[in-house]
Assembly symmetry: C2
Homo-oligomer: 406 residues x 2
């Protein structure tokens, strides 16, 4: 298993493009990912009751289509809360891509991100779809173009790829994602596309993806707001030439491991690049009685506004971490909790058995000043653990969101 | 039923004081409320697993003491996560007040607010207790002194009082509270004391209080962080001379109504004065199938960081309200939702059946620019409703909390 250069075009037979169609001002705003051969598909989607038009479309494609061959994405307009007209526009977007690529419309996934409540500028979208088809290219530059075109308030594009060996064949798996705000995924991220040339059954592909998001995208949060558009799409076209995986054997485990490397990397990049974020905050809870409890506790901490502002201020205000654990809805003994913080610069025990140690505030501030801060809470009650990723809450989060639409 | 001047000293036989003891820098930091005769007591407390020493003490006093005669409160140090030493210091605080007032220690409620994880400066506290006892006074000025002494990042003190008639006797009921940050009460507020000269059984007093907080303090949120110290204490000393209320009759209903006026007023003041807040945001959900669903939906909206920043920016970004309803965990039909905003300046329908109306952004911004903004979501599914109160999320929330301890 090794990290390689690239994203959605890393795997064999996947082409991509990213263009400026005219939805946003002057920035790329449409992306296309295309497989030269039919690919098995899997998807996980927002649990929000209010679902965007592309999410409703993709849920049906995931369940009912025999295969998928393209994913078209736009940024700038979310196509959520847009009624029947929104559904029609979404289908027109898929249809435009299908015609340009000469494939069936049921082989096209769609995804949108941006402002809620506005209709897609459908003429612009249809022209954009033609542009995208004409610009499809192999190679990492094409993947990066696509990753850039789905950004909204993201400050950098997010890609990751790995290669691994199955049946003596080299398999590649890579993806792209965008995040930034309204990020508290519940079944998926804002928008993510992962491609692989692995041969695997559709059923196992979906099972692997559903299991994976619980440990990757569902463990991050920027602002506790679960979007209306969260979609994570996974395409496997089989061009690596391995014997198709149809059972949960060693090869399946290798694939799951590769998938988790890519999804965790993308998820962490999304947390680190949360709106206004100045640093990535990783919270590990260990010594819990059950993994479920560790998940709830770690997520409660990374979503606390008071914890997030303290991290922004490089302030070792550990009481807020214990407070956030206390109201998470999990029973534990606060008088047994140990708490550590660490960064590449060092590690420090702040709390032992629920009370402050005699730690140096100066060293604590120095550790918290890093670009990546990790904290570990040990409940000393069992053997289960979980890790969640968030970011700090800064002035810029308020600035960005007080006036997002203008 | 009429609003009257005053707070905890409005009712007969209640004295108060607020002094600078030396816990904080230069600001009043200890308060005392005293009833000249034994009073029936009731209390509701934080549901946080991590409970401050005074909360643990008060829970026992509420259940086991025959009566209560004093409440001592300090700001600056929360006495939470302080272990056995914290419990001992809390008892010493109660003991110092009991000795100064010549009452039993079991008749003394305690409350603390401030930084978590620090021990009380117990010598300062004991001297402060003597000071407080010496300064006990009748009248509204004394009540205001007490209300000021429990403030932390509050920008103004919070008091309210009403008078009403039971059995031909005038009964008074008044209270004080402090809030500001770590405000997402779950059974009570950060700190609140309500006093009345009504005669009522201890059982009904508790029942009334427990029912009341569900509609008042538990319906507000500043930052979704449920404190370790939330305590709401209610004392009834019977000096109004009415026949003691021992059953749920008309008189009980009058009392509940008076209590709700005072607690809702204090709760709204707390939301409006949330850390960094520039305005009060009232969210009403109507037309729900059950009250529980309306409660969950309204609280989900007022706690959304994206809604709160939009309110700060006077931006009618209604998609964020529908999004926050969508992830609340309640099933409803988004395509039936109507949404209105209003302020004393006017009322505007933003959404009809889940889609934008043709509203004027200019008028919307003007309405949202008020100091009190109200929004109403109509699900058109039933007859249940609920109202929650929050505030906007501003730069100052980040500023205050990035460096609270210094």
């Amino acid at each position: 298993m090794k990290l390689i250069n690239g994203g959605v075009t890393a795997a064999q037979g996947f082409l991509a493009s990213g263009v400026y169609a005219g939805i946003k001002k002057k920035r790329k705003d449409m992306a296309l990912v295309y497989s030269t051969v039919p690919a098995a598909q899997a998807g996980t989607f927002t649990t929000n009751v209010v679902k965007a038009a592309p999410v409703k479309w993709d849920i049906i494609i995931t369940q009912e289509s025999e295969y998928v061959q393209a994913v078209v994405l736009n940024s700038g307009v979310a196509n959520a809360c847009t009624g029947v007209e929104g559904d029609q526009n979404n289908e027109k977007m898929a249809q435009a891509v299908a015609e340009a690529l000469k494939i069936t419309v049921n082989a096209v996934y769609t995804a949108s991100t941006g402002v809620i409540g506005k209709q897609l500028p459908i003429d612009v979208i249809i022209e954009g779809a033609k542009l995208l088809a004409g610009e499809l290219t192999e190679g990492s530059e094409a993947g990066t173009n696509a990753a850039q075109a789905i950004m909204t308030t993201d400050t950098y594009s997010k890609e990751c790829a790995v290669s691994f060996v199955i049946d003596g064949k080299e398999v590649k798996l890579g993806g792209m994602a965008k995040g930034s705000g309204m990020i508290h995924p519940n079944m998926a991220t804002m928008l993510g596309v992962v491609t692989t040339d692995l041969a695997i059954s559709k059923e196992l592909l979906q099972e692997a993806l559903s299991a994976d998001v619980k440990k990757s995208f569902n463990m991050i949060s920027v602002d506790r707001d679960t979007s209306t558009n969260d979609s994570l799409l996974l395409l496997a076209n089989g061009l690596a030439g391995n014997k198709a995986i149809t059972e949960k054997n060693e090869n399946y485990e290798s694939f799951c491991k590769a998938l988790n490397i890519v999804t965790t990397d993308l998820a962490k990049k999304m947390a680190a690049d949360g709106e206004g974020a100045t640093k990535l905050f990783e919270m590990q809870v260990i010594g819990a009685e059950t993994e479920e409890e560790a998940v709830i506790l770690s997520k409660s901490i990374i979503t606390s506004s008071l914890v997030k502002t303290a991290i922004f201020g490089n302030d070792a205000n550990w009481g807020r971490i214990l407070c956030a654990m206390g109201y998470a809805g999990v029973n534990f003994d606060p008088d047994h909790v140990d708490l550590y913080i660490e960064s590449p610069d060092g590690k420090l025990k702040l709390v032992e058995n629920g009370m402050a140690t005699d730690y140096s505030e100066e060293i604590a501030t120095s550790i918290l000043s890093g670009k990546e801060v990790k904290a570990t809470a040990d409940l000393k009650a069992g053997k289960a653990s979980a890790t969640a990723w968030g970011c700090d809450l800064s002035y810029d989060y308020v600035k960005i969101n007080a006036d997002y639409r203008s």
